[in-house]
Symmetry: C2
Subunit: 372 residues, 2 copies
């Protein structure tokens, strides 16, 4: 079975590494000649809006998916003329627009921050009055890793925020205090069967995920709520594959922040530390194969390597550390790899600190103008 993936970065690469052992093969479309998934499948170099490249890519595919959510919906529609495309285009479009996303969450009964859209300076002022201060304004589209956001703490910040972002439609949200960030990864089969991984606790640094701990230390009630939210959103979208929802935990209430219609950085721990990885489960759903067990094999942590990789030997020497190097060159603010740490709890804590120390030493933080 030949699986097509739009985008050939590390997520595409890890999808292929999960699918090759079960006999799947892969073709990628990506504008970058040096895209790192090329090592594990056929890479077609071309733009996502190039009809000839899309036609070459689509020929002979059994099913198609995408590895990042800023791929144009039109590209998916073009491929859908040749083979099934999962997750559905509607899920991609919803995930690409913060307003559509929040509106869907609200409609399905998920708690969200107060929010309001703004396309003009007047709407922006009205939105700030609606949600109150402090607030955060975000571009409705194309934001990721903390890009395209501005915080408004006092009315005096409003002009600067509008100047920085107002050229495109915005979503304004109340900046609500929260205790921690959690995410839930769900997988839904073509039959409608739904499974969720346990909640993960995530720590961001300058908008980029730095550390995940799985499973998060949560009450059964909070886990049940997260699983129900995941199922509600995926059912509503007629979803097939893996979808991630990020929440803020505000005094025990899950506030739905955003969703990613794909495998997700906060699920990388599942490669070593769950009975079936998020990557394999995404592929099983696409290929109409039985879903795999989402039970953790033990506690784990995941540390992102940002900017540059520490020496591999130093990482491998840490007990329970499983480095994943994506084959990308170093660049400020770029995710170049991650390390999952498994093992009994005592080793886990020590080893996670050791990985964080190494990662920090070789870390180049995200520069505001950097392109990760």
């Amino acid at each position: 079975m030949l699986i097509g993936i739009l985008g050939a970065g590390q997520l595409g690469r890890m999808l292929a590494l999960a699918g090759l052992p079960i006999g799947l093969r892969f073709r990628f479309l990506d504008p970058a000649e040096d895209a790192v998934a090329a090592h594990v499948g056929e890479l077609i170099v071309g733009d996502f809006d190039d009809p000839a490249a899309l036609a070459r890519f689509a020929r002979g595919l059994s099913v198609c998916t995408f590895e990042f959510e800023n791929v144009p919906a039109a590209a998916l529609r073009a491929v859908a003329a040749h083979c099934p495309v999962w997750p559905p285009v509607e899920a991609l479009e919803t995930g690409q627009d913060r307003l559509a996303e929040k509106t869907l969450f609200q409609r399905l009964g998920l708690s969200v921050h107060p929010f309001a859209p703004a396309s003009t300076r007047d709407e922006f002022a009205a939105a700030l009055r609606t949600v109150g201060l402090p607030a955060v304004s975000k571009t409705r589209r194309m934001g990721y890793d903390g890009k395209g956001q501005a915080v408004i703490r006092t009315p005096a910040d409003a002009d600067a925020a509008w100047e920085a972002l107002g050229a495109v439609p915005l979503l304004v949200e109340a900046l609500v205090p929260f205790d921690r960030e959690l995410s839930v990864i769900g997988v839904r089969a073509q039959s409608g069967e739904h499974r969720a991984y346990p909640l993960v606790e995530n720590v961001h640094e300058r908008g980029i995920l730095r550390l995940s701990r799985a499973p998060a230390d949560v009450t059964p009630a909070l886990q049940a709520a997260a699983t129900a939210h995941s199922k509600a959103v995926m059912d509503a979208l007629g979803y097939v594959g893996v979808l991630t929802i990020e929440f803020f935990d505000a005094a025990g209430t899950l506030l739905a922040n955003e969703m990613a219609p794909r495998v997700h950085n906060s699920g990388h721990w599942t490669i070593e530390a769950a009975r079936t990885s998020q990557f394999e489960n995404h592929l099983r759903a696409l290929a109409d194969l039985p879903l795999g067990d989402t039970t953790p094999r033990g506690p784990s942590a995941m540390v992102n390597l940002i900017g540059a990789c520490p020496p591999l030997a130093d990482l491998l020497r840490i007990p329970g550390a499983h480095p994943h190097l994506y084959g990308k060159g170093p660049r400020e603010g770029r995710k170049v790899g991650h390390v999952t740490i498994t093992d009994d709890s005592a080793t886990l804590a020590r080893s996670t600190q050791a990985v964080l120390a190494l990662a920090t030493e070789h870390h180049t933080p995200l520069h505001p103008d950097a392109n990760p």
Copy 2:
């Protein structure tokens, strides 16, 4: 780091699948255009004795290894002019000759069956007198998966055995009763550091490995003996990488049967069920990286898929089953995949039976004339 592998079958493929996540890349040399490791690296199609193909293969490699033990030693020597080759050529040559192998075992104090070489009909008769009946005669070279063997139970069988095999040099061994077959997989670093995985119990069917259980149920003394044997052999050979030794357990004595200077079918369970897989540890040794933890993550079993694969969906539905399909077409007696079963012990037993039942249903046994 670019790793060269002579041979591009499933072992090469699984080596690459273990090395890609830690940033290694792979090039293969294989005579078969449809060799299955081509999905995970660059395949150079050529014979192992083709100097031009070997030169193209060797260009720019950081280190070279091999995935099956019948590659000509001359090919390794040709590549060794360009880059380090591990395991050492001497280990390959020893593993290719049953007489050299048994002589090494004996010299290092490992227990072996009574054995004697035979290159002529007279030597054959003398060898049978030396080792006694029943005996088994084996071709000294190029035997695998039970091929090239003949059993002599009575003097009347001797002529037929000689007729069948005597065109090439033979080794004659006493056929000693044994309780079970065990194997130990060791890994040795360039520093000389040695680690062993726990003993595995293997069940063969018509000379092909059918089922492995890991860890085997053995006394600490038996495990210590196996680890010491592994270290003695690897030290004597100045070995770097993974080496497997197969034993017969005869009433608590380990009789060394043969060795394979490479990753081994009886170590496939380590992918899911050890902290570091045999494939990753082989690569770590070659690349002079710290060795990984060989501790099991729990009990496991491994079932080979021979001849043809059962439907993937049926395999994936079995709790704890991790199918590996090599991408080979069906053929009588051919290893086309394996399934590792992990999980708690109760599930393990049930699931192993379920996998065996499916595998048997789709099994084509080795025909005496088949080429696996």
